[in-house]
Structure formats: structure tokens, C-alpha cells
């Protein structure tokens, strides 16, 4: 009796602790009637002051067109959205529409049946699917089904100050050695060659992601991203870390980067104190604008140069589209889809692609070179030429493996771990995650 009572208490408390029942898989119905009534909760990654008005304006416009609808925005930033998403998942309180990265991050929502299967409305051959960049739509495919609505494309480039390069008398470097030499010349000219803030450890991990694409064959990388097949024994891992070490030593403030925020670092480029900053295309309009010392016409970009003897793919580029999913717990999936159709209209895509937002839209016809920063237009062309896009290491990997990369890179930069030790810690994390 006592035992059964204890078992019952344990069962009840465990269920409560787990946050209740698992959400059911839901498949979007393209014929569902949209009732323009009720409240939609939308969690975005546009919490930064510069980006926040975008969804706020769209919500107002949608509410004005449909007076029975109220849009509640939850606007987070790059860092806060990670924990916010998981907190809401744990509490079974996911908003109707929520931001997602591709890779393992989005895969978690699919695995847990938290996201609506959107194949019937956005999959191959559908009208909406044809209105979006095919590569961006494909990035949200899991097990052959579509789960995400891509909003914009993103990739990492080295942004640079043309006046700094002119003053130092250097050209855009074409390989890693040339970059290191350029750094020496820029330092001699009085510039911090590359501004970097690794207080938020994903910054260093983004360098490693691109260098891994250069140093490790794609099939090996993709096998290692899955804990079940991961071995992490390719020599390219150590090579990539050592190349990052060279960049840190000759081009940056070295281990001091661990005490600097990425926002401070990008400001150094904007203020004309640093010559380069490795940034996402969606940050181009933030780095150089009418209000910064570095003006948009003085801003240039190039891919992080590959080492001359790279064993991986020198044409690969780090990046991924970013988008939104519909919660399977939503009581108004049809309305949520209608709102996202509105968000992905070409005219709204053009607003998103142009300053001050500068997020190159994933909508076909959602980019107008006349209104966009020319660098963003050039970046989009470059993305189209990449042999493949390697996703962010901190979202493509299992959280435990991602954590090993994040802390390992900080330790490597700080001199607390060797390149071999970092790779060993990643290997151990993958082993533990199996």
C-alpha cells in the first residue's frame, strides 16, 4: 500500500514536473478557413532596438486590416531567445508563431512535435513555397517535411573599412596567409586589424565554423554533427583551431577578446578604429550607416580567406536562413499562417531587405537593389555562389557538443586549453550525447 502510494506520488509529481502532455503532431490544412478573430502570440528575434519596429509595424498593419485580431509580440535578441524558447517549451507555453534557426535547433521542435507540419502549404509545388527562395525553404526540411517559413538569408563575411585598407596600402586578401600579412600592415598603420568580442562565445565559434568548412571534408563534418556517428578524428579540426589561433594572435587583441562584448567590437569598426569585423550579412547595415563614422560607401566585405592547402571545401560559406515555425499547440493555426503569408509578401520583404533592417529577404522578389545597401546585394550574390552553406556550429550540433565548442574556444583563446584538448572535449561531449 505504502509502495503504491509512493509510486503514485512519484508518477504525479514527475508528470507535473515534466510540464504535462506532449503536444500532438499537427499537419497544416491548406483549405482551412481563416477566421480573423482572436489573439496571436509571435516570438521574434528582432528585439534589438534597430530591428524591433519591423514586426511592430507589420502587426499594426495586420491589426488595422483585420480589426478582430490582436498580435502580441515577444521580441527577443540573439542570446535571450535561446533560453526563452526552451523555458516556454518546458512550460508548454509556446507562442503561436516562433523564431527558429535551422539544423538541430529547429529539429528539436520537430522531434518534440512542437511545430506544425507545413508541407501542404509551403512544400514543393505549393504557391507559397514557390514565392520563397527554394534553398531557404529546403533548410527547414526535416524527414522530408517542411516545418519552417524562412524569412531572411544569413551568412558570415569579413566586413572591412575601405579607408583603413587604403591607408595601410593593402588589397583584399585572397588566402589566410595574405590576411595575416595584411593584419601586420594594418596594425603598423595604427588600426586594430580585426575587432572581435568573444565574451559571448558564439563569436569565436563562428570563425571555427567557417574554418572547419575549409579544413574538413563536408561528409566528415555532417557525420560528426550527429552524435551517433561522430568521431571527431579528422586532423582538419586541430588545423582549423590553429588557424584561428594565428588570426587571434596577429589580427586581434588576443585573449583580451574574452572580456569584450561583440557589440563593442562591431562599434570599433563603425567608429573607424578597427579595420575589419567578421559579421553576419544581417549586420552590414549596423556596421556602417549614415550615423556611424564608417559610411556605407566606405564599407566592403569579403569571405574569410581560406588557407592555401585547405583539405575541405574552399568555396563553402558559413550561414543559414532563419525563419519561423507555427506551434502545434496553437489554437488558431490558420490565422497564424495567414499572418506569416502577410509577413512574407514581396513588399514587406523589400522593407526587410532595405536599411535600417538590412535582413536580405527569403521572399522571391523581396529584395530591391535600388533600396538596399549595395553590400547586402553583393553578399546575396556571394551566398548564391557558395558551394554549400555550413550551418552555425552552436545550432547545428547537439546542445552538449555545442557547449563544448563554446567553452573550448574561450579556453583556447585564453591559453587554458590546447587545440588538441578542445577537440578531445568536443569528442567526449559527442560521446556523452549518444
Amino acid at each position: 500500500m505504502k509502495r503504491s502510494l509512493l509510486t503514485a506520488i512519484l508518477a504525479v509529481t514527475t508528470t507535473l514536473g515534466a510540464g504535462g502532455a506532449i503536444a500532438q503532431t499537427l499537419i497544416a490544412d491548406p483549405a482551412a478557413l481563416v477566421t480573423h478573430e482572436g489573439t496571436l502570440k509571435v516570438m521574434t528575434k528582432f528585439g534589438m532596438q534597430r530591428l524591433a519596429p519591423y514586426f511592430a509595424d507589420l502587426a499594426k498593419a495586420y491589426e488595422a486590416a483585420h480589426p478582430g485580431v490582436t498580435i502580441e509580440l515577444i521580441q527577443e535578441d540573439d542570446d535571450s531567445i535561446k533560453s526563452k524558447s526552451k523555458t516556454l517549451v518546458a512550460a508548454n507555453a509556446m507562442p503561436d508563431i516562433f523564431f527558429s534557426w535551422t539544423g538541430t535547433w529547429g529539429g528539436n521542435f520537430v522531434r518534440g512535435a512542437r511545430a506544425v507540419d507545413l508541407t501542404p502549404v509551403i512544400g514543393p509545388g505549393t504557391e507559397w513555397g514557390k514565392a520563397l527562395s527554394p534553398a531557404a525553404v529546403d533548410a527547414f526540411v526535416y524527414d522530408g517535411k517542411n516545418y519552417g517559413i524562412p524569412l531572411y538569408l544569413d551568412a558570415k563575411f569579413m566586413g572591412f573599412s575601405k579607408p583603413a585598407f587604403e591607408k595601410a596600402g593593402i588589397e583584399v586578401p585572397t588566402d589566410l596567409d595574405a590576411l595575416l600579412v595584411a593584419c601586420d600592415q594594418l596594425r603598423a598603420a595604427g588600426y586594430t586589424p580585426i575587432a572581435i568580442g568573444n565574451k559571448e562565445p558564439w563569436v569565436g565559434v563562428h570563425y571555427i565554423g567557417q574554418l572547419l568548412a575549409y579544413n574538413v571534408p563536408r561528409n566528415v563534418l555532417e557525420a560528426d554533427f550527429e552524435p551517433a556517428t561522430a568521431t571527431y578524428d579528422d586532423p582538419g579540426y586541430v588545423a582549423a583551431l590553429e588557424q584561428f589561433g594565428q588570426i587571434a594572435d596577429r589580427c586581434t587583441v588576443g585573449k583580451a577578446m574574452n572580456g569584450i562584448s561583440y557589440q563593442t567590437a562591431i562599434q570599433e569598426l563603425s567608429d573607424g578604429k578597427a579595420a575589419m569585423y567578421y559579421q553576419e550579412i544581417i549586420e552590414f547595415d549596423n556596421a556602417a550607416s549614415a550615423t556611424t563614422t564608417l559610411k556605407p560607401e566606405e564599407f566592403g566585405f569579403f569571405r574569410l580567406p581560406a588557407p592555401a592547402d585547405a583539405k575541405g571545401d574552399a568555396e563553402a560559406l558559413e550561414g543559414a536562413p532563419e525563419g519561423y515555425m507555427i506551434s502545434s499547440a496553437s489554437e488558431n493555426v490558420a490565422l497564424a499562417l495567414d499572418f506569416m503569408r502577410f509577413v512574407t509578401k514581396p513588399e514587406n520583404g523589400k522593407i526587410l531587405s532595405a536599411p535600417p533592417y538590412g535582413q536580405p529577404s527569403a521572399v522571391v522578389g523581396g529584395a530591391d537593389a535600388a533600396t538596399m545597401n549595395p553590400s547586402v546585394v553583393g553578399g546575396l550574390d556571394d551566398i548564391a555562389q557558395a558551394s554549400y552553406l555550413i550551418q552555425w556550429l552552436d545550432t547545428v550540433n547537439h546542445p552538449r557538443v555545442a557547449s563544448a565548442w563554446l567553452s573550448g574556444i574561450q579556453a583556447y583563446v585564453g591559453g587554458d586549453m590546447s587545440a588538441e584538448a578542445v577537440v578531445a572535449s568536443v569528442r567526449a561531449a559527442a560521446e556523452a550525447a549518444k
Partner: protein
């Protein structure tokens, strides 16, 4: 009358005492006055504590909601986890330095401030020391981020001006200094609040005691040692409990300043719990860390309460 009195005691008891069942029912009935409060405390305080222990024996995937019973595996992992050792040390250092500055330092500062003859200066100094406590941790974190910034921060600038540039560090970016830089910020912020509490305790000490001591020839230091210190023992005990418990529950300061980095060197138990639960999706292990925090703070609280009571009995 006697007979009537005898029957009035109720069934079965001739000695006038109520029957145990009736007494028990009466006690239960009187509990109605506190039932709501007990229910709220039970549901919001004691049930989560119990549930945390249960969750700590599971592997819990927050995305799928799947829960697997794994016994004490999370506690075995806790023992082998090197970051737990780092976090425990960081929390302990936080507690020790906080006791030094926010209890003993604040006591002496309060004694000095309350020893001032001028009411106006006493008020001014109380306000001056209290102001940092009124600033939010996020704002304080940002302020100290700029103070500690390598090369251009005020701290490095000050060291350079003093010819001590060799002492410059990447305060928040080096494994050996990050946690101490955070603790220093926390002392700056919490020092004034503790001082104010001690000031209130000192103000309650009867002035006659100081007058008598002065007549006996006791100097200021002797008065603090022989009157102020013993008379504020209760407050000191309470402050130590609050400080130690707070040091093991610290979270905001570390999240704002370093988020546990670099390389987990400034992790404390609270931030490591958060990292495991909400970044690594490992709620079971996070709950085990929660149990450890509960155990440590409970132990500190009980030990301190016992010590304070023991001293009171001896006094």
C-alpha cells in the same frame, strides 16, 4: 451541579479533560484559520522542493516531454562534473568575501557613520552608501563591464596612471580573475544595504550604555567592541545567514557579466543549473544541481541558527 458539571465534560472522561478524539477534532478545526496559508506555502514552497528531488532522478527531454527514471545517475554525474567543483568554489569564495565585506566591513562602516556627531552628515553618508543598492543588477553589470574593459576601461586607466600597468588584466575574460571581478561588483552594490541594516540595529542600542562606558573611560574603539558588537549580535547572525544563503543562490550578477565564462571559470551553481536545464535541455541534471543548492543553503542556515541560539544560551 456536580453531576451537571460531570456530564458537561463530554463522553467518557470523568476528570474534566476533553476526550482525545474531540481534542484532535478541535485542533483540526482550529487549523481552518491557517489552512489557506498552509496550502499556499505547501503548494508553492514545499511541493516544488519535493518535486525537484523527483525530477532529479529522471532524464527529461523538454522538447518531447519524455521522462525516463534513472535513479541516482544525475547525482553520480554531479560528483564527477569538474564544473560543479569550480562552481562550488566560486560560491564559497562569494560567501566568504561577502561575509568579510558585507557583514564585518559593513558593521564597522555603520559604527563609524553612527558615531558621527552631526545628524546631517550621518544622513548624507547613509544615502551615499545606499545608492548603489538602488541600482539594478543589469545596469550595475553594464557599468562594471565598462570599468573592467581591457585597455580602455577606468580600472586599467587608473592602474596605468599609478604606474601599475603590469597589474592590468582582462578582468572578465581571464579564467583566474573573472569570478573575483564579479564578486567585487557585487560587494560594491550590496555593501551599502548591509551598512544601513547595521545602522538601524546600532540606533536601537540604548544611549545610556555608551554614556556609562564613557564615564568609565572607554574610548570609541572600546565602545564598539564592548557595546555595539555584542548588542548587534542578532543582526550579525542574521546577516551572515542571509549573505551565505544569497551567495549560494547568486545568479543575476554572473549571467549579466560573464554568463559563466570564460571556459566555465565563473560558473556558480545557479548559472550551471540554468545552462544544463535551459541550454543543454537536461532538466533532470539541472534538478540535481538544484538539490545540491538546497542542501548547501539548508546546511548553512541550520548551522548558523544553531550557533546563534547556542551563543544566546551561553550569554
Amino acid at each position: 451541579m456536580k453531576g451537571a458539571a460531570g456530564t458537561s465534560t463530554g463522553p467518557g472522561r470523568a476528570d474534566g479533560a476533553p476526550h482525545p478524539i474531540r481534542r484532535g477534532l478541535g485542533a483540526l478545526w482550529s487549523l481552518r484559520w491557517v489552512a489557506v496559508a498552509l496550502g499556499i506555502v505547501g503548494w508553492f514552497v514545499y511541493f516544488p522542493i519535493l518535486n525537484n528531488f523527483v525530477v532529479s532522478t529522471t532524464r527529461h527531454d523538454i522538447f518531447t516531454g519524455e521522462v525516463a527514471q534513472i535513479g541516482l545517475d544525475n547525482y553520480r554525474r554531479l560528483i564527477a562534473d569538474p564544473v560543479i567543483a569550480t562552481a562550488l568554489w566560486n560560491n564559497t569564495a562569494y560567501a566568504l568575501l561577502s561575509i568579510l565585506f558585507q557583514v564585518f566591513g559593513a558593521f564597522w562602516l555603520a559604527a563609524i557613520v553612527e558615531g558621527l556627531r552631526s545628524d546631517r552628515w550621518r544622513s548624507i553618508w547613509r544615502a551615499v552608501y545606499f545608492i548603489p543598492s538602488a541600482i539594478s543588477t543589469t545596469v550595475t553589470g553594464l557599468l562594471f563591464y565598462f570599468i573592467y574593459q581591457p585597455g580602455i576601461g577606468i580600472l586599467d586607466g587608473l592602474l596605468t596612471e599609478l604606474g601599475l600597468e603590469h597589474l592590468s588584466r582582462v578582468w572578465l575574460g581571464e579564467s583566474s580573475t573573472a569570478i573575483y571581478a564579479i564578486i567585487a561588483m557585487s560587494q560594491w552594490q550590496g555593501f551599502g544595504y548591509s551598512t544601513l541594516l547595521f545602522s538601524v540595529a546600532i540606533q536601537k542600542i540604548p544611549q545610556e550604555l555608551y554614556d556609562a562606558a564613557r564615564m568609565d573611560g572607554a574610548g570609541s574603539l572600546r565602545q564598539v567592541w564592548s557595546i555595539t558588537m555584542p548588542m548587534t549580535r542578532e543582526m550579525t547572525g542574521m546577516m551572515i545567514i542571509v549573505t551565505v544563503t544569497g551567495a549560494f543562490q547568486v545568479f543575476n550578477e554572473v549571467m549579466v557579466m560573464t554568463a559563466g565564462g570564460p571556459n566555465n571559470s565563473s560558473q556558480v551553481l545557479g548559472t550551471w543549473l540554468f545552462e544544463q536545464g535551459f541550454n543543454q535541455n537536461d532538466m533532470g541534471y539541472a534538478a540535481a544541481i538544484g538539490s545540491l543548492i538546497f542542501g548547501v543553503t539548508m546546511l548553512c542556515g541550520v548551522a548558523q541558527l544553531w550557533y546563534t541560539r547556542h551563543r544566546r544560551v551561553l550569554a
